[in-house]
């Protein structure tokens, strides 16, 4: 793909109109950290780019009683500095903080990470864990899709030609409900997840877990919501045995591949370890929020 046409619409309506009505392959661009590289590596096919960063609502966020409404194109450097968001969704912020270098975070966005739909995307398990939803808009109107249903395969998602991601929506967590995200990489930063785990837990005043969500990344074609692993936590005080059980169920749900980053056996093992540790971090945060 070689960029032959660049468009910077000022409104969502204008962007949607640009997405249809051209014979040239058209892609939306947020930070461009994936798209620009892809456009250079396959330089033959002409590509029309619709840059969403001039649309104010794509770059902004709001946080109120209803929860978080995030403009999908806000760069990770800006997002990770939002202290009000970090207080309520620390796991999502830590996932965004893990994407690339300082330079990449100056461009890359959560919406871009989601729409690029890599199995190893850090923010996707974190978004699934907190029950995030995608507001998608197209010529036919709006629709809302849960993040766990958004990604349909390696580099594929449910958006149809002519549609774009307008908003990422997350309910406000109650006191006693918090999240965490952990990934494994063989170095300390600047790498792609070998495995990742996003966990959110809700505790009552007695410390009993009343709800939980566990999502695992980089261990299947898409990030997976593992409801059966979360079920192992509900009704417990997140003691060692129940957390170990959730970890084992999550490990069993993984269907990883062997590649240069890790083997099937290693990924299956380490994703369980990550689930266990992320659960304990989420528990600690949930307790502190009560």
């Amino acid at each position: 793909m070689a960029v032959v046409d660049y468009n910077a619409p000022q409104s969502v309506q204008e962007a949607v109109a640009l997405l249809s009505g051209s014979d040239i392959k058209t892609k939306v661009m947020a930070g461009g950290t994936d798209l620009i590289i892809q456009s250079k590596s396959q330089a033959v096919e002409p590509l029309r780019v619709v840059d969403l960063k001039h649309i104010a609502e794509m770059m902004s966020y709001s946080l109120d009683d209803g929860g978080l409404s995030l403009g999908p194109c806000m760069c990770c450097a800006e997002f990770t500095a939002l202290h009000d968001v970090e207080t309520l969704y620390p796991g999502l912020v830590e996932a965004a903080y893990l994407i690339g270098s300082t330079q990449v975070q100056g461009r890359a966005s959560i919406g871009g990470n989601l729409c690029n739909s890599s199995p190893a995307a850090d923010t996707i398990p974190a978004l699934i864990a907190i029950g995030a939803k995608c507001l998608i808009v197209g010529a036919g109107g709006e629709r809302t899709v849960a993040v766990e249903d958004f990604v349909t395969g390696v580099g594929r998602n449910c958006m149809q030609p002519g549609e774009l991601l307008q908003r990422i929506l997350v309910a406000r967590p109650a006191p006693g409900s918090r999240d965490a995200y952990l990934r494994f990489i063989p170095r300390t930063e600047m790498d792609i997840a070998v495995a990742g785990a996003g966990v959110s837990v809700t505790l009552d005043s007695q410390g009993v877990c009343t709800a939980a969500r566990i999502a695992i990344g980089a261990v299947a074609q898409t990030a997976l919501l593992v409801a059966s692993a979360a079920d192992a936590l509900v009704g417990t005080k997140l003691d060692e045995a129940s957390v170990a059980k959730a970890a084992a169920v999550a490990s069993a749900a993984a269907s990883p591949i062997t590649d240069r980053r890790g083997t099937i056996e290693f990924r299956r093992h380490i994703v369980g370890v990550l689930v266990k540790r992320a659960t304990l971090i989420a528990k600690e945060r949930a307790q502190a929020s009560l």
């Binding site: 660049y6 620009i36 780019v49 300082t102 100056g106 461009r107």
Partner: protein
């Protein structure tokens, strides 16, 4: 293909250039504007040799399309120090011999300036994490980090 006329500001100076839609900001700086201080390393956002700021935010020029510079404020290594008077960061890089071949140095100086604007008193770990996207294949980083921390201390003292 028709070239696009872009009006921008580079290091505080109003600048105009013509570019094709596929050209990156790095292509424009080096090939069209002859501002070769910004280096091309990987061209894929991994090495940080082309670190610049866009509206004050650190990024890689190879990850930005040239057309995106329209109406933005671009900061490059050419805007830091001068031949007559180096910036404190540049002086400290020399003093600590924090370079060998020099290809990564402009990017590291730009990134270090961004770091110290955001965090004037970084710990060693904070500096290392912030600068992790600037690869150096010569020094082993130790001298770079010493230079960065010394520059930070000097700039705090001078402030």
């Amino acid at each position: 293909m028709a070239k696009l006329h872009i009006t921008t500001s580079i290091n505080g100076e109003a600048t105009e250039f013509l570019c094709e839609p596929h050209e990156t900001l790095l292509d424009v700086l080096r090939n069209d504007l002859q501002m070769t201080g910004t280096k091309e390393g990987c061209g894929s956002g991994d090495c940080g040799a082309c670190s610049v700021t866009v509206d004050g935010r650190l990024t890689c020029a190879c990850l930005v399309l040239g057309v995106e510079a329209a109406g933005r404020e671009i900061g490059t290594i050419e805007g830091i120090g001068s031949s007559d008077k180096l910036s404190v960061i540049q002086e400290k890089f020399l003093e600590h011999a924090a370079l060998q071949c020099g290809i990564c140095t402009p990017g590291l100086v730009v990134s270090t300036q961004a770091l110290l604007e955001q965090n004037p008193n970084p710990t060693e770990a904070e500096a290392r994490y912030f600068l992790a996207g600037n690869l150096c294949r010569c020094t082993g980083y130790d001298k770079i980090i010493r230079a960065v921390l010394d520059a930070a201390a000097t700039m705090r003292g001078a402030a």
